[in-house]
């Protein structure tokens, strides 16, 4: 088992037991550029990721207007 993270159409996996911040650093994703949700709830960077967690990363940077 592992921790699954998704950002838009990309999927990543990290080892359980690390913090969200460490996972983002490992994946070279800037924490400032995303919000993270697990089970629909926002989680913070100090959250320890557990085996089987599915984390959805929400990109927050936009550069256009609909």
């Amino acid at each position: 088992m592992a921790v699954k993270l998704t950002l838009r159409n990309r999927e990543f996996e990290v080892r359980p037991g690390m913090t969200l911040h460490s996972a983002l650093e490992k994946l070279d994703i800037l924490p400032e550029s995303v919000l993270a949700t697990r089970g629909g709830e926002l989680i913070l960077e100090d959250e320890i990721l557990r085996d089987g967690d599915e984390v959805v990363l929400v990109a927050v940077i936009s550069g256009g207007g609909a």
Binding site: S33, V58, V60
Partner: protein, 309 residues
């Protein structure tokens, strides 16, 4: 991490404020702070009619939601740009905006470029050969023109946009790299009204983009998540990423970059040259909006090219 106000588990951590809040207190904090900035920068009062420019994105819908909750007289305007990108970008964002307004019983004015001017933004750009293959400059020009036209025609006192601090810091960064003094002196939370031009305000200019995304998520606002298909690789996004790399190492650097700029500007760091100060605006004979040179404004000249005049 715990909420500073109640000690429950925090949902949002703002390192630049050394402040973590739970969902409930965060949803109170954003409107309270917005109110504070509206007053601090003297943007508008509850007696004035506000027109909120909404795109269907997180920032503008959050702004409209906050103003509505604060009890301001805030109607919305949406511009249907006709951008598809293979997934109905504009039509989806229009649907979300209309749903948002209907759920709250708010009034929404819609400008449809194709219906009102005969061409979508991408086609306008293509027909006029503006923008080096990208419609972004035509899009910006058209939005500025139409927002001002509607605000004036419908008698609104002020036009509010959802620009957040990351938007403002990216523009400031760009203008500083180019030492664009004429733009620097005009950048700020309020652009006062002048003959033919509605007052423009940015009530979210002190909130990080991440904070507004968190507000929309926690409030359950359904917004268009997909990026504009033409924004990919844009300079604005590149500058925002650079600034976020700085922010990661130095929490608060984006906020101080912007706030200290405003203080320096208000302290007289930038001044117009005598030529710039003397330069008067002219009135476009076609639409009546102000323009920097005699004759028709850029928007009307663009429409002339399309119609073959």
């Amino acid at each position: 991490m715990k909420c500073r106000k109640c000690g429950q588990k925090a949902s949002v951590n703002m390192r630049h404020h050394k402040l973590a809040l739970c969902r409930e207190h965060y949803l109170e904090w954003i409107p309270e702070q917005t109110e504070r900035f509206i007053k601090k920068y003297r943007m508008f009062t509850r007696d004035e009619k506000v027109l909120v420019a909404v795109s269907g994105g997180k920032d503008s819908l959050a702004l409209w939601d906050v103003l509505w909750r604060l009890g301001y007289q805030a109607d919305g305007m949406y511009i249907a740009l006709g951008i598809d990108g293979g997934f109905g970008y504009s039509s989806r964002s229009q649907q979300l905006t209309e749903k948002f307004a209907a759920e709250r019983g708010l009034e929404l004015h819609v400008v449809d470029m194709e219906r009102d001017y005969g061409r979508s933004i991408p086609l306008l750009a293509e027909s006029t050969h503006r923008g080096k293959g990208k419609p972004c400059s035509v899009c910006g020009l058209s939005k500025r023109h139409e927002m001002n036209r509607l605000a004036r025609d419908l008698g609104y006192d002020v036009l509010a946009t959802g620009h957040n601090l990351d938007d403002e810091a990216a523009v400031l960064f760009s203008n500083t790299l180019n030492w664009a003094g004429e733009y620097l002196i005009r950048q700020g939370p309020v652009l006062p009204e002048s003959p033919g031009l509605a007052r423009k305000v940015k009530p979210l200019c002190r909130f990080y983009e991440r904070e507004m995304a968190a507000y929309s998520l926690l409030r359950g606002i359904e917004y268009i998540y997909e990026e504009c298909p033409f924004a990919e690789g844009s300079t604005t996004i590149f500058y925002k990423e650079l600034l976020n790399r700085l922010e990661e190492k130095q929490p608060g650097v984006k906020l101080s970059f912007y706030v200290k700029f405003l203080e320096a500007r208000d302290g007289g760091l930038f001044t117009l040259t005598p030529e710039e100060a003397k330069a008067a605006l002219h009135t476009c004979p076609s639409c009546g909006q102000p323009t920097s040179a005699p004759g028709k404004c850029t928007f009307c000249r663009m429409l002339d090219v399309v119609s073959g005049k």
